[in-house]
Symmetry: C2
Subunit: 213 residues, 2 copies
Amino acid sequence: MRESKLEFMPTYERLPSYLHLAEESLVANMEFVSGTDIAETLGLSPIQVRKDLSFAGLKGIPKRGYKTTDVIFEIRKFLTWDEKKTAILIGAGNLGKAIVSHSEFKDCGLEIQAMFDNDKEKIGKKINGLEVLDVNDLESECKKINPVVAILTLSYKSDIQGLAEFLSELGIKGIWNFTKRKIVLEKNIAIYNADFLSGFSVLCADIKRRKNI
Amino acid sequence: MRESKLEFMPTYERLPSYLHLAEESLVANMEFVSGTDIAETLGLSPIQVRKDLSFAGLKGIPKRGYKTTDVIFEIRKFLTWDEKKTAILIGAGNLGKAIVSHSEFKDCGLEIQAMFDNDKEKIGKKINGLEVLDVNDLESECKKINPVVAILTLSYKSDIQGLAEFLSELGIKGIWNFTKRKIVLEKNIAIYNADFLSGFSVLCADIKRRKNI
DNA sequence: TAGATTGTTAATCGATTAACAATC
DNA sequence: TAGATTGTTAATCGATTAACAATC
């Protein structure tokens, strides 16, 4: 099976920032937000914002803009953030703790219901009200929880690829991979490799470029 | 001043994964790595890997591949990861802690020399051997340290944009922004917005797409 | 009404992929 | 030598931007 790529990735990456702005506009009691304003605030072109919003199914009103509540409702629906997605997290280190403790993910429908580690020191302890379970119980726990998403925050020295394959057998639909090792699967599973170093690489390149301008 | 964009961003994002593979090949005593193998392991096309490596200044040898030590040396140099970059981190929450404790960044030249917070509870405490300083002392501390990079891991409810402008006046060259609020600056500063929700948005879209295949 | 904003179609730009020559 | 791999030029594809019509 040839792996087909998700189209419009850049658009999906921008949508959360529009949602965030619309939420702030709602708090400020603004009934409408204009694409022009959004573009200005985010340093984007107005055409791009309009294209993105139209892609998410939004219709605006000339001269006024987009209805604030519509923007929030439609983007959330478009991204399936209005649906609950049960998740597990593997790797109860600092990053794992940070993610589990980050209350905002819940607004995106992400419900982390279990976290795992292989370190005897960590197993049994509670982090943000969630007990750290033994990674050896992954299979039995998953059969209870039936998670849709797995978040990987373990050391890259582990067998990440093998773990991913196991998770796919357990019925996971998407893997949010924060480790350094890229995951490649044949099966029909969504994988987002979120390694920090990719971003740092871009930052370094941009610093270098600007030095030479 | 019209903000010009960094070209070849996708290439820069991929380079760290090639570096990582080359480092593993070195440990495994492999003198050469082939672009074909790299591509296979990372789920990319061989042409793309060759193009990327050539962009980073690497020359391979037909039938053998690229010299492992060359790949490591050249990519690290190309990304300026062989140069020390002093950094500060603002926001000593869970994510801030995770980043400061992440030893790998040091291999990329990133030396976090101070971390700040505005929470009296946190100020004075040590995290991974680094004392949390009062964010009110940002200016005086920066004059001592002269940081190149600022890492922002504070709550998005703070005035991120204002902080970024202040940092730019203090001579910061690059901002690694983990907050939800996008930063837009006129000045000649590199900014990488690394908001987690952009990635989660893509993951959700991909899960949704595959459900309908 | 005039002006501001949306929406759509076409043009441009940049990144990826294909084709194939070069070579150890 | 034959086969595997690199390197380069051209073609394709997808995303962004431009131009402009539509409209409240």
